[in-house]
């Protein structure tokens, strides 16, 4: 039996029914990582001790015949932007190269409390800023489907690890598409919950009004189970919403006939690859066959999303990243003679090119004389984009779009052109700005056999409906 390609339920059952042990399961994953991750580069740190300790706890429960918790013995991995107590957490940056957090991120703690076994920390773009994972200060990640291509970003390590069976599932973070875009490129399921649905406590901040934690998994059901585990109000994050969490697994199996699916022409225009377009149109047809009602909707401000996003996100980033000053933690440059020289050199040497670019753009957008023209303007456009969705959701229950304009591109293809890289997120940033949930699921392959992603967007706090649509499509078996 190949233990590394099982779903969450199958993994847990195999341990519960004593067909294997959690310890043996952990070992098979580490063997797999040892053998294959050299060429992929998904993991930055392995948490062997912590994994073995948890596996032992689960095995003792199983041996006594006690029912295992929902994620009992399920090996998962965590994007390295989430703090793990006692385990190096880098955010993919040299400036945090030796940072050992004194506490756990709430989402990580909730996974472990539900029995999950943490295998390690996953590579990502530095401070989650990037769409190809080439901005990692440590090494790029290669797409398991074609190692000359990027896995997407910034949760590239998370998507690659799940696609290559090096973890049953992973946590990622999404600020402009960083869960859904790599999920699409690597052929896995990636779910960005509603803003506030999952606590951000312990997530290293990029842009606080846009940052989301969410799962990457191999099936829609696994994503639903993980969301149910990590969702819900957390007093440690004042922006985590006090909205009841439904039983997603019970919800997502409900039938789809009658569900109204919106299709917005703005997501099918210039720049969309013909093969991706065809695959997404086929998927919409398939959903219609399953009984969904397809309704045209309009999201007229969509073309303003990328400019608004790159002003809001970088402005917030420039403020959030001001804390990295080499004083209390993180990298400090040697040989500085004054305090101000120490700040500057530590940041100069500690941050990579894209992070500096975004700090500069954000600082510029917030600076005296430009605040109104850039930052304030972008915030107003954010309102318009959100109203677009509010209008559309009066007519439909979910909106279906391509996740990305193209399938995975080549390593190196866009590194010298920041704007071209930013446009890889053109269909995903809108949901981050509006705070609505979105999921990417596989919907076929290109002629070069690269995965294509279908994005389903939902109303605020209505993850249940998009999971339901995603599940119906996945069940129909036309996308994989």
């Amino acid at each position: 039996m190949n233990f590394t390609s099982l779903t969450i339920d199958a993994t847990r059952s195999a341990i519960q029914e004593r067909k294997t042990t959690s310890m043996a399961m952990v070992e098979s994953f580490y063997e797999k990582i040892e053998k294959e991750d050299g060429e992929i580069g998904a993991f930055l740190t392995l948490t062997r001790e912590r994994a073995i300790e948890q596996a032992d706890r689960i095995d003792r429960m199983a041996a006594k015949g006690k029912p295992l918790p929902p994620l009992g013995g399920v090996p998962v991995a965590i994007k390295d932007v989430m703090c793990t107590r006692g385990v190096r957490t880098t955010a993919g940056s040299k400036i945090l190269g030796n940072f050992i957090p004194p506490y756990d991120c709430t989402a990580v703690a909730r996974l472990e409390a539900a029995g999950a076994v943490i295998l390690g920390k996953l590579n990502c773009d530095e401070f989650a800023m990037g769409s190809s994972n080439e901005n990692s200060a440590f090494r790029p990640v290669h797409n398991p489907h074609d190692k000359t291509r990027v896995p997407g970003g910034s949760s590239g390590g998370s998507a690659a690890a799940v696609a290559a069976d090096m973890a049953v599932a992973a946590l990622g973070s999404d600020t402009g598409g960083s869960i859904r875009q790599p999920a699409a490129f690597c052929g896995v399921v990636g779910l960005m919950p509603t803003y506030g649905r999952v606590s951000r406590y312990g997530l290293i901040a990029f842009a606080s009004s846009l940052d989301h934690i969410g799962p990457l998994a191999r099936t829609v059901k696994d994503a639903a189970i993980l969301l149910g585990t990590i969702a819900g109000r957390d007093p440690m994050d004042a922006t985590s919403a006090d909205v009841p969490v439904p039983d997603y697994v019970a919800e997502f199996e409900k039938p789809v006939p009658g569900i109204r699916i919106g299709v917005a022409k703005e997501y099918f225009g210039e720049g969309l690859d013909a093969e991706v377009k065809k695959a997404v149109e086929d998927a919409i047809q398939a959903l219609a066959k399953l009984g969904c009602e397809v309704v045209p909707v309009s999201l007229p401000h969509s073309k303003y999303a990328i400019p608004a996003y790159y002003l809001v996100a970088t402005a917030e980033a420039s403020s959030n990243l001001a804390r990295f000053d080499g004083v209390r933690y993180g990298y400090r440059a040697k040989s500085a003679r004054t305090l101000s020289e120490m700040y500057r050199r530590s940041r100069d040497e500690g941050f990579g090119a894209e992070v500096k670019r975004r700090i500069m753009l954000g600082t510029y957008a917030l600076s005296a004389g430009y605040y109104d023209a850039y930052y304030l303007k972008a915030q107003k456009v954010r309102t318009l984009l959100t109203r677009d969705f509010e209008e559309a959701f009066k007519k439909v229950d979910a909106i279906v779009t391509p996740t990305t304009p193209t399938a995975a591109f080549k390593l190196g293809e866009k590194v010298d052109d920041p704007l071209a890289m930013y446009l890889a997120d053109i269909y995903t940033v809108t949901a981050d700005l509006a705070g609505i949930p979105g999921i990417s699921i596989p919907c076929g392959r290109t002629r070069e056999n690269l995965p294509i992603g279908l994005q389903i967007l939902g109303k605020h706090f209505d993850e249940a409906t998009i999971l339901r649509v995603a599940n119906a499509y996945e069940r129909a078996g036309v996308g994989s």
């Binding site: 803003y195 009004s209 400019p307 209390r328 704007l419 509006a434």
Partner: protein, 112 residues
Amino acid sequence: MRVTDKDVSYVADLANLELTDDERSRMVRDLNSILDYVDRLRELNTDNVEPMAQVSDRYGVDRTRQGPERFDYASREDILYGLRKSLPHEEAMSNAPDPDENFFQVPKVIER
């Protein structure tokens, strides 16, 4: 070109970055290209549009209430150890690049 060398130096100064000469010239190029693209926002009339600073102001709040009370669920009493104990001193210092027994050490702050 709207962003000049001088602007880049000024903004780098605000952001506590130094940047090498190469980085500066690249930054002039990149910022201009990005800002040219961002310019399309000017096409939109936003005179009567409220800015949106955060999502939780619109969603997830207690909608039966008005004003700051909408956020009551997120507040707590202002007491010591309201949510958890502070980190032990040793742990709080454990990541410091240059600690002494009690403090974070930094280079000289005031120059004479």
